[in-house]
Amino acid sequence: MKERLDDQTMALRVAKEFKNGMVVNLGFGIPTLASNYIVEENEIVIQSENGVLGIGRTAVTEEEQDFHLVNASGQFATPLPGMCFFDHAESFTMIRGGHIDLCVLGGLQVSEKGDLANWLIPGREPGSIGGGMDLAFGAARLVIVMTHTTKDNQPKILYKCNYELTAPQVVDLIITDIAVIEVTPDGLVLKETAPGWTPEEIQALTEPKLKISPDLKMMEL
């Protein structure tokens, strides 16, 4: 089997989407890892749904662990100058009111039209929505980071999601372990390939037809 990007490398690619001054919300898993790859020239304000703006990377040492400073995944975070706290109503006023520039979430399935499914695996009722649905509907730009296929190598990028939707037509960009794909009104556009992967190989693992970007390049990491 061909080599794919690991979680840390996908997180590194996610961090390239952060532009100076952005307010960014990072979901559970690989998105949260991306907070460790913010380049110093960029001042990014990270919002966490549990009521904090302006946290830094996740805690590493025992001394850094503070039960009163955790992120949405329940991990210990670290403080940065300018950080502020608020309650859940205020936090989701930010999220639902369109004050988040960029949100990165994990995904189970994404459709050709940018529909997202990420809260309920069939048979695993009642499912867990958390803040994901509000973020999917409310963030100005939504990036999904996920493995390109399921564990048994079936596509997760589909004509139509067959899991319960988190939100219809909301995804702007998909970053996977083999490709970067943009969702456009004309369909899915392959923008970047992982090292060693050809567009044909990526298409074979993707249900809808991919358009090839005229600027197609290898992922810069």
């Binding site: 966490s48 749904e49 549990n50 009521g51 904090v52 662990q65 503070d66 039960f67 009163h68 400073l69 955790v70 329940g74 991990q75 210990f76 706290f85 608020f86 309650d87 859940h88 109503a89 936090s91 989701f92 999220i95 639902r96 695996i121 695993r124 009722e125 009642p126 499912g127 867990s128 929505i129 958390g130 803040g131 994901g132 649905m133 509000d134 509907f137 409310g138 319960e164 939707l165 988190t166 939100a167 219809p168």
Partner: protein
Amino acid sequence: MINKVINSFDEAVADVFDGAVILIGGFGPANGTPSYLMRALEKQGAKNLTIVCNTPGGGRPAPPKPGAPPPPPMFRKMPKNVDNAGILIQNNQVKKAICSFPGQAMPGTGSALHDRLRAGLLEVEVTGQGTLAERIRAAKAGIPAFYTATGPGTRLEKGKEVREFNGRKYLLEYAIKADFAFVRAYKGDRRGNLIYQGTSRNFNATMAGAAKVTIAEIDELVELGELGPEIIVTPGIYVNRVVPRPKD
């Protein structure tokens, strides 16, 4: 003199009645959870409760069977002396849970919520976290219902009024009318003014004042005037009872 301080958790929850709707603060099992109030309610025994909280939690882990291998280490580190709302489900006091993140536990893995849901003993309403927060805030503000952009085109649309404003679809969501709110705060005074620590504020400050009776479990009772007017997060009029925790 106004004095809302009660020095007993048992006394503070004595009037919780069968069928009450209770808001419970906290985010995840660990942070800013009113553990003493929930333990007191477990002892008090009121039944057919509706609990409203972000993550009810799995309750207390079962004691290991003799000779069984040790359980796997916890996914996350926990603070000392914490219990989650799952203990009320384990004690069969809950008929309905309204929450946003009950977790994905498989049957038989020890989640009281999932096991009772499958057995038909518990109703679980899963809603988005922002809609949950806003339904609580609306009740506090005297707003009976509101339209939200979160949810059209998903399963959550089912049975709800959909209305279009400026070309975008919105769902009608109703305020949650609650009888009691259990919140956890850092410092409080006899009038019920509260401050919180870091991200432990979460749902606690949203819920304070959103029920007929708000009961605050606080780490430290301070003299009136000690909390500066610029830093008080929850104004005392939202709080009915203040109960200091014993030192951990």
